[in-house]
Subunit: 200 residues, 2 copies
């Protein structure tokens, strides 16, 4: 077979390394890029370079940020003394969208997962303890990890480490999602919803 464009091959090869993108999707994206005006490709390429060159991590909360500390840690209008612990920076984005939480965040950078060789030391757990024991006057830590096996295990682990500090440790409520019907809910969720029932 004959390849007429090495450059096209190269971009397909690189695109195919992206998560959820096989050779066929990579080809489709490359075709799309070829057909677009130059401006879009330039914007995309520069956005990718900026992402690597200009985005850093906030040294306080671990969130991705263009500045250190990040805008949330720096914002004097946000509530002090309450930290929401999440797995990754995109969880911050998801929670921020609700406008429900006005406190501070702490991004772990993952969860404990022996299968993936991720232990507590690879997560920002020590940094969390330092904040709780430091001068932020923390009163409450909300655990908002994903309700899967790793998230649960990590929540228990952190809860245990926080026991010596005299603060409230809470977790977001797991239960029936709004707008669904009971018959479509799995048993584990339904059990959790019963165990966590509230006064009406």
């Amino acid at each position: 077979m004959q390849i007429t464009s090495e450059y096209l091959e190269r971009v397909i090869e690189q695109l195919a390394k992206l998560p959820g993108t096989g050779r066929k999707s990579a080809q489709r994206i490359a075709i799309h890029l070829l057909k677009q005006n130059d401006e879009y490709a330039l914007k995309l390429a520069n956005a990718i370079l900026d992402l690597k060159n200009k985005v850093t991590r906030c040294s306080v909360c671990g969130n991705v940020s263009d500045n250190d500390p990040c805008k949330i840690c720096e914002n004097s209008k946000r509530q002090n003394g309450i930290i929401c612990v999440v797995e990754e920076f995109n969880d911050v984005y998801i929670i921020e969208k609700t406008n429900e939480f006005r406190g501070r965040y702490h991004v772990l950078g993952g969860v404990i997962s022996p299968m993936d060789n991720i232990g507590p030391d690879q997560l920002r757990i020590q940094e969390l303890l330092k904040r709780v024991g430091g001068d932020e006057q923390i009163e409450e830590v909300i655990l908002a990890l994903n309700p899967d096996a790793e998230g649960e295990a990590t929540s228990y682990y952190i809860n245990k480490l926080l026991a010596p500090y005299e603060i409230k440790v809470t977790r977001i409520a797991y239960g029936i999602p709004m707008g669904t019907e009971l018959e479509f809910i799995d048993e584990a969720t339904l059990s959790r919803a019963f165990a966590s029932r509230n006064a009406f």
Copy 2:
């Protein structure tokens, strides 16, 4: 809600414009890029820029190429006098992989599609007629368009335009794909397979 990284937002926004990529996939890709080493992001960004700056179209066959004419048009070892007409450059790639066809190509750049406002004038049909009437001494044109309504209509249209030239016009065989069972084949394909039956 508070955005801590404008650069991250920007790359997600650009990635979400890619075909088959919504905001969620774009976020996942951005997270992946953030976690990768710098070298990969640099390679990807440069590959995208090269795609736009260095890839051109072959003025003979319309295929994407780093040079004009392309390697296939230029290759003296390929069979002269036979042109395979395809919709897009990725069809060339697919056909080349089979190592079945050793002639020349002609890339239309699409198919006639009134729904998408694509008429014959937006396709490289006049260029095909010029090649057939020119000094390439064309003996056969193989139509290898997709077997959908637009592909069929375009094939008929081109076949009609080629009638005045005294050449063979053929099309690739449409029928039962190898390795499948008859019960899984749609009626249109099965009808076509009967109509196109060959001597055993």
